[in-house]
């Protein structure tokens, strides 16, 4: 036990020290993790061989990441992406793989080895690239979107590659009794190991169908049941259980857990629990991915590296140059413009974490001899190491050069693309939501009452379950690129907390809040809300006006009275706010506020009275006729 604590501390400590430092130096968090790994691994020897075991565990972070990626893509978006996904992604994989295959053939005797190397090296690092895009705020650029298509295609392609690799096994490595068929599934636990081919295929198909079907039909009642309990940690547990369950099922039938997680993500993309799920998985993903990068750093085998330094460096640089050239070419063919093409090229020019997975997989399946697996994984690691450097090149060299040619973001004057988040979809939020929807704006709607969310789903109003006072949830709901945040919850304390949080962490987001009463209104303004609307004022005024009409006031006159009333209120709002603000939290000293309030009531009364007795009071201007006979003295 003590050993675990010490080790965990070493890993955490390395990350805590290095990552903020790397970030501050502009290197990005990924490089920070990698360096931390190198320091605690090969440099100081604080961690040893267990790093590899931890790496297998940390690969679960990649599974989680793909789950989250899947959740960003509902089936419709996926379908819209099919062009760049299959065209760009497919061509990238095909061209890179064939080029590497051709070059590798010059150095290795067997074509199967060359092909395996080609397949392994043609993949890029989803983890590094997506993480860096997010950090640098590049995700929305054209270059990043195309890079994402390629990465997604690669992630999907891993599955057929995993099933293809064992067929490339070298007979001499398999030992006496080994046959290709037996080597194909050498995992300890594999339910379909002994089944005939047709049954195996059926099992594979069945498990994919099971994941999709369970996502569609079982997830909702399950989440509903859990959310109703009102225990946030159980919801987290459920999220983890589902992911681990999918990973387990996929592994049992010999499929990639990442694929299963991705599919589950796509299925759950339209679920009302999406944002809450994301908020729950995100921290785990971050932690595990960080751990994964550390283990990559720790796994750098310095003796092997020193012995073959020239060769490995040459391979790495050659590989990256080759990938970059092909990517640039593809970017040109697919019409990606100027700096976006460079971003696309530089971001994808490395080998990825799936490289490690496939390398160790190839080794266990006797596809690659172990003496070349070590240097190859060093090439993968090194190229991952250099990727943050390429992003720095992009930041410092490419982007400034295109600064003046920067394509302006397409303008969106009426705001259809602007993002709005509504917290609370009760009686108040619903009206706002309907108004926006009717005008072509689809806000992201969050509510912490699962019954409300499911009732609204019943009448086709899309909303998500989640506690909007949690910063993580707001992040997954997209507060970072939101324009307006609407606080429509009925809990005074929560509303205030949300306003405070959003105004401090995201000062550029406009916060529009619903106030319960006058003091709540002051509190919200004080917390920085841009617009505060009292939830009762307008409707009460309306009803009051109706009363006047029943007492034979002329309808237009009633309208004017209401306007005057509002105007006088508004005029004195600031002075009331000041006296509320000065008294602050001092209990019992609201005397001044009260006397101020009474004063204003008196002013209100007087001005309304005068108005009625037709002494033209200053507040009642408009349509006032001139005094009788005014034009007589003009003519004289």
């Amino acid at each position: 036990m003590t050993g675990y604590f010490v080790q965990a501390f070493v890993y955490l400590c390395a990350a805590v020290v290095m990552v903020p430092l790397a970030k501050r130096l502009g290197l990005g968090s990924v490089l920070g993790y990698l360096i931390a790994g190198v320091i605690i691994g090969p440099v100081t020897g604080l961690v040893g061989s267990e790093a590899e075991a931890i790496q297998h565990f940390a690969e679960f972070g990649v599974v989680m990441m793909l789950f989250l990626v899947g959740m960003e893509l509902n089936p419709k978006t996926l379908w819209q992406m099919r062009g760049s996904l299959i065209g760009l992604g497919g061509l990238q994989l095909l061209l890179t793989c064939s080029a590497i295959f051709a070059i590798a053939l010059m150095f290795v005797e067997r074509w199967s080895v060359a092909l395996a190397i080609g397949l392994i090296f043609s993949l890029s690092s989803t983890a590094i690239i997506l993480q860096t895009f997010n950090e640098k705020g590049l995700s929305k650029t054209e270059g990043a979107r195309n890079a994402f298509s390629v990465l997604l295609f690669q992630d999907i392609a891993v599955i057929p590659i995993l099933s293809l690799l064992p067929l490339l096994a070298l007979p001499e490595l398999q030992g006496a009794g080994g046959s290709v068929e037996a080597a194909q599934h050498s995992e300890d636990l594999n339910l379909v190991k002994h089944l005939p081919a047709w049954a195996k295929a059926t099992a594979l198909a069945a498990s994919i169908v099971a994941v999709v079907a369970a996502g569609y039909f079982l997830s909702r009642p399950l989440f509903y049941y859990v959310a109703k309990s009102g225990l946030p940690e159980v919801f987290t547990t459920t999220s983890l259980m589902i992911l681990v369950g999918i990973a387990a099922l996929m592994s049992l039938v010999g499929l990639s857990p990442a694929l299963g997680a991705f599919l589950a993500g796509v299925v759950l993309a339209s679920s009302e629990f999406r944002h809450e799920l994301k908020a729950n998985i995100e921290p785990f993903k971050g932690l595990l991915l960080g751990l994964f990068f550390i283990t990559v750093g720790a796994g750098v085998d310095f003796p092997v590296l020193w012995q073959n330094l020239g060769l490995i460096l040459a391979c790495t640089l050659g590989l990256m140059a080759l990938k970059a050239i092909l990517l640039y070419l593809l970017g040109w063919i697919f019409g990606i413009q100027s700096y976006n093409r460079w971003l696309f090229t530089l971001s994808l020019a490395q080998a990825g974490e799936f490289g490690f997975v496939l390398l160790s997989y190839s080794q266990t399946h006797h596809v690659l001899p172990s003496d070349i697996v070590q240097p190859l994984s060093l090439v993968v690691a090194l190229s991952m190491f250099l990727t943050p450097a390429l992003f720095i090149v992009y930041d410092k060299v490419i982007e400034p050069r295109f600064q003046d040619k920067k394509i302006p973001e397409p303008e969106d004057e009426i705001g259809h693309k602007s993002k709005v988040i509504i917290a609370g979809i009760g009686r108040f939020g619903q009206i706002i939501n309907r108004l926006l929807l009717a005008n072509g704006i689809s806000p992201v709607v969050l509510d912490h009452k699962v019954s409300t969310v499911s009732r609204l789903r019943g009448i086709n109003i899309k909303s998500y379950y989640g506690d909007a006072s949690r910063p993580e949830l707001l992040t997954t709901a997209g507060i970072d690129d939101a324009k307006v945040f609407v606080v429509a919850v009925d809990d005074k304390v929560q509303a205030l907390a949300m306003v405070k949080h959003v105004k401090t962490m995201h000062p550029n987001v406009q916060v529009l809040a619903r106030a319960f009463d006058r003091s709540h209104q002051y509190e919200l303004i004080n917390a920085g809300a841009d617009v505060v609307i009292s939830e009762t004022y307008k409707s009460a005024l309306q009803l009051g006006g109706e009363v006047l009409k029943r007492l034979n006031f002329h309808a237009f006159r009633v309208e004017q009275i209401k306007q005057n009333f509002t105007r006088i209120e508004k005029q004195h709002f600031d002075s009331l706010y000041q006296s509320w603000f000065n008294e602050g939290d001092k209990v019992g000293v609201d005397e001044h506020y009260r006397s101020r309030f009474m004063e204003i009531e008196q002013i209100l009364l007087e001005s309304m009275q005068q108005d009625r007795s037709d002494h033209h009071h200053a507040t009642d201007r408009g349509w006032t006729p001139p005094p009788g006979g005014f034009d007589e003295d003009r003519q004289s």
């Binding site: 306007q563 201007r621 349509w623 006032t624 006729p625 001139p626 005094p627 005014f630 003009r634």
Partner: protein, 205 residues
Amino acid sequence: MADQRILILFAHPSLHRSKVNLRLMQVADTYPGVTVVDLYQQYPTYLIDIEAEQQRLIEHDIIVFMFPLYWYSTPAMLKEWQDLVLEYGFAYGKKGTALHGKLFFCATSAGGTEQAFENDGFAHFTLGQLLQPIEQMANITGMTYLPPFALFGARNAQEQGRLSEHKSQWKALLSGLLQKRINPTEAKQYELLNHYLVARAKEKK
């Protein structure tokens, strides 16, 4: 002589459909010395701030009503604005001299052709005749009334390539007014400010 300041009171109730006025308004907004007030933007519920509007009038030398013609007159907002802002004792009456000596004109666009706005045309009245209540408003408040600056056949002015000429006339008018190069007495001789500008340009050549 200090430069002139122009106040454009802009009233367009469906700006998202505007083909002419929006562009002219945006052009005007780029001139220092020109204040453009989008009345429908500022008072979406017709709740006009009388005090602020009067203050604005005092601060400018040239007042412009800018609007598309609706039923041969201004959109409702400008009528409402007149009713509320031009108070007795401010704009007229014995002590109502706030607007005295200012220049006033309408910048408008009409769907009908110029021929329609003749006494034997479809509209039976000229634009100048139709805008007489506004002319009288200017007279009573002591302002110098100039003929309207107008674009006829506005719905297809762009397609027929007439918009760019109108726009350069608008620019000439604004800079002429700002630098006091427009002679009110001469301008008054014409049916439209457009005609005056054309004549003035010819003279220069």
